[in-house]
Assembly symmetry: C2
Homo-oligomer: 353 residues x 2
Amino acid sequence: MSADSIKMEGSVCPVPLQHEQKIVVGHGSGGRMTARLIAQRFLPAFDNEALAKGDDAGVVELAEAGRIAVSTDAHIVVPLFFPGGDIGSLAVCGTVNDLAMVGAQPRWLTASFILEEGLAMTSLEAVIASMQAAAREAGVTIIAGDTKVAEHGKVDGMFISTAGVGWVPPGRCISGAGAQPGDVVLLSGTLGDHGIAVLAARGDLEFEVELESDIAPLNSMVEAILAAASGVHVLRDPTRGGLATTLNEIAFQSGVTIRLKENELPLRPAVSAACEMLGFDPLYVANEGKLTAIVAPEDAEQALAAMQHSPYGSDACVIGQVEEGPAQVVMETVIGGTRIVDVLAGEMLPRIC
Amino acid sequence: MSADSIKMEGSVCPVPLQHEQKIVVGHGSGGRMTARLIAQRFLPAFDNEALAKGDDAGVVELAEAGRIAVSTDAHIVVPLFFPGGDIGSLAVCGTVNDLAMVGAQPRWLTASFILEEGLAMTSLEAVIASMQAAAREAGVTIIAGDTKVAEHGKVDGMFISTAGVGWVPPGRCISGAGAQPGDVVLLSGTLGDHGIAVLAARGDLEFEVELESDIAPLNSMVEAILAAASGVHVLRDPTRGGLATTLNEIAFQSGVTIRLKENELPLRPAVSAACEMLGFDPLYVANEGKLTAIVAPEDAEQALAAMQHSPYGSDACVIGQVEEGPAQVVMETVIGGTRIVDVLAGEMLPRIC
């Protein structure tokens, strides 16, 4: 054991520096080992005043009265690391995006970790670094956290639950219930990249796929869309369940028919090929850096341009429209027919997020 | 399968009523089975407008600008149910109490569930009911949630992460860094009830213990203390790591010595006996419904009276005082000596919260 100690700004007791290789049950005890884990691994990365104070909750200032948005996600993805991201970037972006989809500006995040005894410390460090990078890009700070450790075999590697708080500027009214007949349906890019990339990283495929997850924080794209267009009625990110499930939720919340055109749906050749070989429909495969926007027809062009000029929206396109009719999603197929696109039934690609 | 369907207020697609006995992987798919789980189990219990809207984040109104507190906890307690509570009441009270300990009035909670495939639906229902009862008592609403399912054996029953947002009224300045020489240290009741009750429920003890966990929301006690006394410097709930670890954190944050009197520490006979037989020190055993308050000497009497008149504070008492000196906790023992009370080292009673 090293005899050094780090002095944390008032936040925890001085703790001897140690270079532990693996997570042990004592790291979740709430005592000295937990304090050391926090002081050595979390605080330097998530560096901010509210967290460093070391109190039971992070306290932050809201300059204005008004609406706040609050959201949470649990993340259990397998494997922890995959091309284009890892459970850490997924956890931060997932919550950032959920806040952005109600028109909120994400501000503060919390992160609670459930670690498996025996987890390599290097894995935890890599995840923490990735969370911090994603948080920095999204402009959010991680102001509270918690760490628990379960015995080897009682948890699968590492689970992370994030929650987030965002500020909803006055006048914004974005909800799944807002779609109106005549509205245009936009999609910010290709479908299914995340789901297929994670599946490939598991080694479950019989063939090679060159593909990265699309994990990305979408809050800057949302701000760009809202600055460019006043008639933005719905924003939603098609994660678990895919675009099909997301659009069905909107159709039911708004009481409208959503009509898609199959030949407008953007797909990477790798995703298209993988889905064909596996018998998957890319409409049901998860995305983690895409959004669908439903906007008034007179605003569609500006909203689309704003998406296309955003870092993660270069492939944005119009994929359909909203019509009066029963609450459902229909698709004009490539061969000229029309079919109903249902909600995902049963399971598909478990442990994808 | 039943052909009935429930119509949820716009929040999710209509879903056929089903009476599933166990959680399956499809309940975490994000599709129809997830929607059904939410519609049938979560929404009726956590009934509130923000959640029922079914958007990606709950949106709520803050009437005033100012400070908010944000906190999170992961809960992995074994067993899920024990005398005096369960993982659900633990999850709600844990986060409510963390918010209250910085002087915040808890308002909104989020809950993310990681469920094991095969979990009995009755267990989930019991936990949800218990969360709602605790939330109602604490006056908080659960406005956002998430549900994931991991395959049988990849998670141990059920984990719940909660996060919370509270409002900090102007003028309140409560932090672990606030203890001052001369302050009086109060404790709201008996030590170690939660830890020993959970341990007994695991069947790990060779003897019978008649004991309930002390799980309780402490926010109304905090309000009563703050209404009665202006000089409240520190509030903290001694959970994992016990009172010893909590007071050490405060001693280091504030740069003071905290002196305890062993014969003032309130202990139930059952806890005292169990600790003696197991070789545990009750100072390190977790509590889930107790707080320590460090207050200016002129406010000690009022603060103590307020605690004693609160529903969970009838055994409240003075346990020590704050002195100038090195950042440490010392205890005058029953036999007249003085010993240093250190932070919990290593592990003790894992999976207690």
